[in-house]
């Protein structure tokens, strides 16, 4: 079978599986639709969270980014895993005990204020839409590269699939498809990584291979790569070039942002008990770390392979994968000195660099570089689609529940029946799919950048007010509202100023004390914390029933059905 036939077969089989699950797990109540009837087992929820969390960016782009950034790529590895510790320790168990359907639900009730609820709804929709547009784009790109389908048609196919299981099954359908999607994506990620690790280091475990010895030269792999980098005029791979301060702030913004993203938080509403919420964060991070500890290994293998297989190689003798990807325009060679050899060199070299490689192809091209069979390539396509679709579905649910539950049921039309609310949720999910699809087909030029900034926005809006809402009874609605508005406005303004208004000033010497727009969410978060705490001191303390509520969410007992309560 050809590579294309394998790809068609595996993608079609995985889609059929998702649809089958959607039909089997239809939602019949709003509780099913919003929180899967709170009946998901912690292990299944861990897998679903992992798939929900790992997007097209994690699957397709991250290893490539790290490959080109070296040590600096650690911001993604630390930033996108460390937030789970915060979730387990500070958020998930208490939000599960509270038993809401959405994040604005909690914010509105804890801060006894419709204004707080609406501010939270706006933040949730804004963060989720910026994120989902990137996912639909990812779907289109995978279709375009592997199946030679037009990108727009690819987006439309992806929309149809998500529409089917998100609208029909709500959270219940999404949860069980995400479990399947996790299995597909992790298998697709590990298989080529294991092959590569054996090829380069002789060790079948990529995580260990990274610290192993390069088979070809007998030198430690990382030492060899640092040596190659020094020779070619790149910064040392294991040291990086960003300032320590900036790495610190970017990592913090990504970690805290992870813990504040509504589509991640709501996953922990779906388990039966508080103790299940705690342990399912553990499972989620375990499943995520499988990919996240493999990615830096893949990055090093790919980097070493790339340099070894193309530098100073005559253009006429390049490997086949090089020619294949050259056709897509993602690899390009310009023989600046006319010697017919490829010079791939860094900024510190005396020679001129002649090779441009798109960082996204590192994961996608890996199976070809390693000369793996056609089914592995098809598997990578199915894995990339699983990663993008699972994240898109989770985000769409946040948007639909923000509209049908927080905006309609809890604010504008409290008299609607459960049936009407469920219908509204389905319509909202459907509309959200259409909007997401539109952005996928007509991406505003800044989508890729904005996705990275969604973390800063989540960090500077939700995280502080949720934490303070649980850990400090004295926190008032005035404090929370002003804190959220100040945090998100400051962060958004800094990002817009440097990226859209004055991109020419976007460099370290102009940044405030050297903090890049990617890391500014941390400052926004600290600002939000400070304002919330200070304003709370000077405003009347929360009403007694809210303080009782805080006492209740701090102890696990009584999270199940109301009749089990026996305090």
């Amino acid at each position: 079978m050809t590579v294309q036939a394998w790809t068609f077969l595996l993608v079609a089989a995985s889609f059929a599986l998702y649809i089958g699950i959607a039909v089997w797990s239809r939602a019949s109540t709003t509780q099913d639709f919003y929180v899967a009837g709170t009946g998901v087992s912690p292990l299944a929820n861990g897998m679903a969270t992992a798939a929900d969390w790992m997007s097209a960016a994690s699957f397709i782009s991250m290893a490539g980014l790290i490959s080109f950034m070296g040590y600096d790529g650690s911001v993604y590895l630390l930033g996108w895993t460390g937030g789970y510790v915060l979730l387990a320790l500070l958020l998930a168990p208490y939000l599960r005990k509270y038993g809401a359907f959405t994040v604005p639900d909690f914010v509105g009730d804890r801060y006894y204020s419709q204004v707080a609820r609406i501010v939270a709804v706006v933040c949730a929709i804004f963060v989720s839409f910026t994120y989902v547009a990137g996912q639909m784009r990812g779907v289109g790109i995978v279709f375009g590269r592997f199946l030679e389908v037009d990108i727009n048609l690819g987006v439309a196919i992806g929309m149809a699939i998500v529409f089917f299981y998100a609208v029909l099954g709500g959270m219940k359908g999404i949860t069980y498809t995400q479990v399947a999607q996790y299995c597909v994506l992790i298998f697709a990620y590990m298989v080529p990584a294991i092959f590569l690790s054996i090829m380069i280091t002789g060790n079948p475990i990529p995580q260990l291979g990274l610290g192993g010895v390069d088979q070809a030269t007998g030198v430690a792999l990382l030492e060899r790569l640092n040596g190659l980098h020094a020779e070619l005029g790149f910064a040392p791979y294991t040291s990086g070039s960003k300032s320590t301060l900036d790495v610190f702030f970017i990592t913090a913004a990504l970690m805290v942002g992870t813990a504040g993203l509504p589509h991640v938080i709501i996953r922990f509403y779906t388990v039966p008990r508080v103790r299940d919420a705690r342990i399912s964060v553990g499972w989620a991070l375990l499943f995520i770390s499988l990919l996240y500890t493999t990615a830096p290994a893949v990055a090093v293998f790919a980097r070493t392979n790339l340099i070894a297989s193309v530098d100073e190689v005559p253009y006429s003798e390049v490997p086949e994968w090089f020619t294949n990807w050259e056709a897509t325009g993602l690899v390009s060679f310009e023989d600046a000195n006319g010697d017919g050899l490829i010079q791939y060199v860094g900024p510190a070299s005396a020679e001129t660099n002649e090779l441009t490689v798109d960082r996204d192809i590192m994961v996608l091209a890996n199976p070809e570089i390693a000369d793996l069979p056609g089914w592995v390539i098809g598997l990578v396509a199915a894995g990339g689609l699983a990663a993008a679709l699972s994240t898109a579905a989770g985000l769409l649910l946040v948007i639909s529940s923000a509209v049908s539950h927080d905006l309609l049921k809890r604010s504008l039309m409290p008299q609607i029946t459960e049936k009407q609310e469920l219908l509204a949720a389905r319509i909202a999910a459907g509309l959200a799919v259409l909007v997401a699809g539109y952005f996928g087909m007509n991406p505003p030029g800044f989508v890729a950048q904005v996705v990275a900034f969604a973390f800063g926005l989540a960090a500077s809006s939700f995280f502080p007010v949720i934490i303070l809402g649980i850990f400090s009874k004295r926190t008032t609605r005035e404090g929370a509202i002003l804190g959220m508005i100040a945090g998100i406005t400051f962060t958004a303004a800094y990002i817009v100023y440097f990226n859209f208004m004055h991109p020419e000033l976007n460099s370290a010497e102009h940044w405030w004390i050297g903090i890049s727009p990617e890391g500014i969410g941390t400052v926004g978060m600290l600002l939000n914390f400070t304002i919330t705490v200070v304003v709370s001191r000077f405003t009347p303390e929360p009403p007694p029933q809210v303080q009782v509520l805080v006492d209740l969410i701090r102890v696990p007992r009584g999270a199940g059905e109301a009749h089990e309560l026996n305090i």
Partner: protein, 109 residues
Amino acid sequence: MSERPHFGEAAGRPSVTDPETVARHEEYWRRNIRYVGIMIAIWFTVSYLCGIVFAEALNALTLPGTNYPLGFWFAQQGAIYVFVVLIFVYVWLMNRLDLEFQVDEGSDA
């Protein structure tokens, strides 16, 4: 804000007024905060201190038995392993604490 607040599943529960229970819950919360503090300190040390602030200095060493520069290892592998272990340890400690203070959710709820 004329609408009465609604408290999700926690609505309509009797508030706890019995002084013994209140004291027990307060002690439970203090112990929880202490665990959280210890965990956060470890979390901060492995990621921000070992992986970022002192990474360059630690890179002079390698992880014993391997060829990883130590700071680089913390930043790209080690901290993540510690995160996973931290969560499972916290879960274990809290499940024990829930039982000790009789705030657990029972075995089959």
